[in-house]
């Protein structure tokens, strides 16, 4: 240690301090302190931004991406994101009456398009009829020909038009000769077909795919409508539907907790403040409601309220949630109020002549607000999960109203073929639930009065 430079002063008398009460830190209100604490919590902050982002996605998103979530694009059904969208413009579809074309074996009667694949063939030598198959893979030694598309039990029909969900790409068609009893013989004829994506002039105009509509003629190429996140099973834009679904899921997810927390606060503070017999009766009632098996009653209420024509069923679900979930908050708030009522500052305030409503509004509620806020944040994930669960068992919001839960439920069915229909809504549910959970953690830590005194 270096020697002290002012050794002489060491023995001089201590002067009188001007300011005795110097605070080491500025005085902070409860909420300022909580906010500082929250800001220091990196995880909570990130989740706060996530929540804000989700709200922007829900509220501002539809302004930026103005695609009608209900509009069906049957040319692009269940399409994953980032697929080549260029299509040839052709004449509108007209029914095909068959008709022989020159050639041998199984052949295309007309160029194959996403509108239709028109096949013609010559009767196989020993055939008593034919069965037409379509495959996504070349037929191997297993002789698995793919999906049966048609059977003809005599040789009078030698043409077939396939229109079932044709996507651009390669298909392997096979015709198999039938024996007299209708069983398959070994005699086959195969054809590989490359299908081209097409659209019609009318379609292109209706969807506004080209700038100069008048000049569009069959033979031109156009780009089909863009769907950044792909489309669902009815060719509806996923992004637009996710935004519309967010409105429903978050409305239930945030709206229901908000309602029941408000009701719980009212119920709990009244019970806690009045006390005595009233308190007992009120709390006994809350106990009854707590005892109801939650999911069973959720389902029961959902069907008891019913959904009328054209209704989405969001309100019945919200009401059912509120009816079943308020007691937890009520109990919590009552406990808090009972505690606060015994505090010295309340008596002091009463002595100073404070009225009841003043006591409740000025002292009691603000002091329970922290706990209530934390409860609210944790209630949101469980409400969102409940909505998703109800959708899974088929009791969610009614179509065509989308919600993340119903979208994931639809997506599960096609999980293997078109995973994007499951991944996007499920990821949004997960993100939301996680964000609110972490935010709740952060809030609880930030508002915890015990922790205030620790650092």
């Amino acid at each position: 240690m270096p020697s002290h430079p002012k050794a002489a002063l060491d023995f001089s008398p201590v002067g009188t301090e001007r300011e005795v009460h110097t605070l080491s830190r500025p005085s902070l209100s409860y909420w300022q302190d909580a906010w500082l604490r929250l800001k220091a919590n990196r995880r909570a902050l990130v989740s706060l931004f996530l929540v804000i982002g989700l709200l922007l996605f829900t509220l501002v998103g539809p302004w930026l991406w103005q695609v009608n979530p209900a509009s069906q694009d049957l040319d692009q059904v269940s399409q994953p994101p980032g697929v080549d969208r260029s299509a040839l413009v052709v004449d509108p579809y007209t029914p095909w009456l068959g008709g022989a074309t020159a050639g041998t074996g199984l052949r295309l009667a007309e160029p194959a398009t996403t509108q239709s694949v028109r096949l013609a063939w010559d009767a196989l030598p020993s055939a008593r009829g034919h069965r037409v198959y379509r495959n996504l893979f070349p037929v191997g030694p297993e002789l698995a020909y793919g999906i049966p598309r048609a059977e003809f039990f005599d040789n009078s029909t030698l043409t077939f038009e396939d229109r079932l969900d044709i996507k651009p790409g390669t298909y392997y068609y096979t015709i198999v000769a039938l024996n007299a009893d209708g069983s398959l013989s070994r005699e086959t004829s195969a054809l590989t077909v490359d299908v081209q994506r097409v659209t019609t002039v009318a379609e292109a105009r209706e969807r506004g795919l080209v700038a100069n509509e008048a000049a569009l003629v069959p033979g031109d190429r156009v780009e089909l409508a863009l769907h950044p996140l792909g489309t669902d099973y009815l060719g509806r834009d996923m992004l637009a539907r996710l935004m519309a679904g967010a409105r429903v899921s978050l409305f239930i997810g945030i709206g229901a907790p908000l309602c029941f927390v408000l009701f719980g606060v009212f119920f709990g503070s009244v019970a806690g403040f009045i006390g005595g017999k009233t308190d007992q009766v009120m709390m006994r009632f809350a106990d009854f409601v707590v005892a109801l098996p939650f999911l069973l009653f959720m389902i029961l209420f959902k069907i008891a309220f019913g959904i009328g024509p054209g209704e989405s069923g969001v309100m019945p679900m919200l009401v059912a949630l509120v009816l079943l979930m308020w007691p937890a908050t009520a109990r919590l708030v009552r406990g808090q109020i009972l505690q606060i009522r015994e505090q010295g500052y309340i008596s002091a305030s009463q002595l100073l002549g404070a009225k009841t409503h003043y006591l409740i509004l000025r002292h009691m509620l603000p002091n329970t607000l922290g706990v209530v806020l934390v409860t609210l944040t944790f209630a949101i994930p469980s409400a969102i999960f409940t909505e998703a669960f109800l959708s899974f068992i088929g009791m969610g919001v009614a179509p065509p109203t989308p919600s993340w839960g119903s979208m994931s439920n639809e997506g599960i069915k096609t999980m293997l073929t078109t995973p994007h229909e499951l991944i996007f809504p499920a990821a949004l549910i997960s993100t939301t639930v996680l964000a609110f959970n972490l935010l709740g953690d952060g809030l609880r830590d930030a508002l915890d009065a015990r922790m205030r005194n620790r650092e």
Binding site: F288, F294, I299, G306, F385, I393, A426, S430
Partner: protein, 310 residues
């Protein structure tokens, strides 16, 4: 002590009555007609069927009969399974749900404590990150997605190994139960892991652990006696409510894994508007939960005399 138990039991009976009443009136408010079917019935046949189920009487009278039957423990005859009593249905399907639930709770509790302790011990190191990643998955992914994906993965594993490691669906043997119970317990396990971790961290930084270390006690002993023991307390207190949540939350798992439990039955009954089964199942579950809560309360009362005073 006895008066305490009696009081709780009396409260329980009133609660069950409340559940029964709520169920009855919710059920009778449901739009639709449980007796209708694909093929229409003539008026005479319909009148007979209505009389069989007592639907021809006024609602108030039906309610009185219903309560009377309830006291005798008779839930009536199923509407869809015309020759079976609801009691039989519960007796046959509840053990399945209960087994699944018990297993799931065991998995959740054991897993939660072990993983929680492990993450706290190795905090901010590899095991912590890996486990916390799964915890986050368990908390934030909807159970039906987890169930469907895990079933699919099991098929993949089975076909990769060439043998059936675990059955994909169904019920009956030990191996049928493993995956469904794990999936069912996953959410709770994740929750308990988080709880255990933070409670463990609190304990680790406590004075008595520091003292114990300073005394030079063996590490294993400090860990067991001082840390685990104290950290586990909050986990045990939340175990009660999670049992209830898991037992009634089995719907999804029972549906996905084709398990003949009461939850799946309830969902079907709701879709078929099977009045008696819906009411029976709900009241039964409600009574079961109420009873569980009373048992837990009484146990607490035995351990902690302060509870009895309240």
């Amino acid at each position: 002590m006895w008066s305490f138990i009696l009081k709780r039991l009396a409260q329980g009976v009133i609660t069950v009555w409340f559940i029964a009443t709520a169920t009855f009136f919710a059920m009778h408010n449901v739009p639709g007609d449980p007796l209708l079917n694909d093929r229409a019935m003539t008026a005479a046949i319909r009148a007979n069927v209505e009389a069989k189920y007592g639907l021809d009487k006024p609602v108030a009278e039906q309610y009185v009969i219903y309560l009377g039957n309830l006291i005798r423990g008779d839930f009536g005859i199923s509407f869809t399974q015309e020759n079976r009593e609801v009691n039989d249905i519960i007796r046959e399907h509840f053990p399945v749900s209960a087994t699944l639930g018990i297993l799931a709770v065991l998995f959740a509790a054991a897993g939660g404590v072990l993983w929680g302790a492990l993450t706290a011990l190795y905090r901010n190191r590899m095991p912590d990150y890996v486990i916390m990643f799964f915890v986050i998955l368990g908390i934030s992914v909807p159970s039906f997605v987890i169930a469907a994906v895990s079933q699919l993965m099991l098929v993949g594993v089975n076909s990769a190994l060439g043998v059936t490691l675990l059955p994909v669906a169904g019920w009956g043997t030990l191996s049928h139960m493993l995956l469904p119970a794990l999936v069912l317990g996953l959410g709770t396990m994740a929750y308990l892991t988080r709880l255990m971790r933070s409670s463990m961290l609190e304990v680790i930084s406590s004075d008595y652990v520091r003292t114990a270390k300073a005394k030079g006690l063996p590490a294993a002993r400090i860990f067991t006696k001082h840390q685990l023991r104290n950290a586990i307390l909050p986990v045990i207190t939340v175990l009660g409510p999670s049992i209830a949540a898991i037992t009634t939350g089995g719907f999804v798992v029972e549906l996905v894994f084709a398990i003949p439990g009461l939850g799946r039955y309830f969902v079907q009954a709701v879709q078929q508007l099977d009045y008696t089964v819906i009411m029976g199942t709900t009241v039964f579950y409600g009574a079961f939960l109420v009873f569980m809560v009373i048992v837990v309360d009484v146990l607490y009362g035995l351990i902690d005399p302060r509870v009895r005073m309240q």
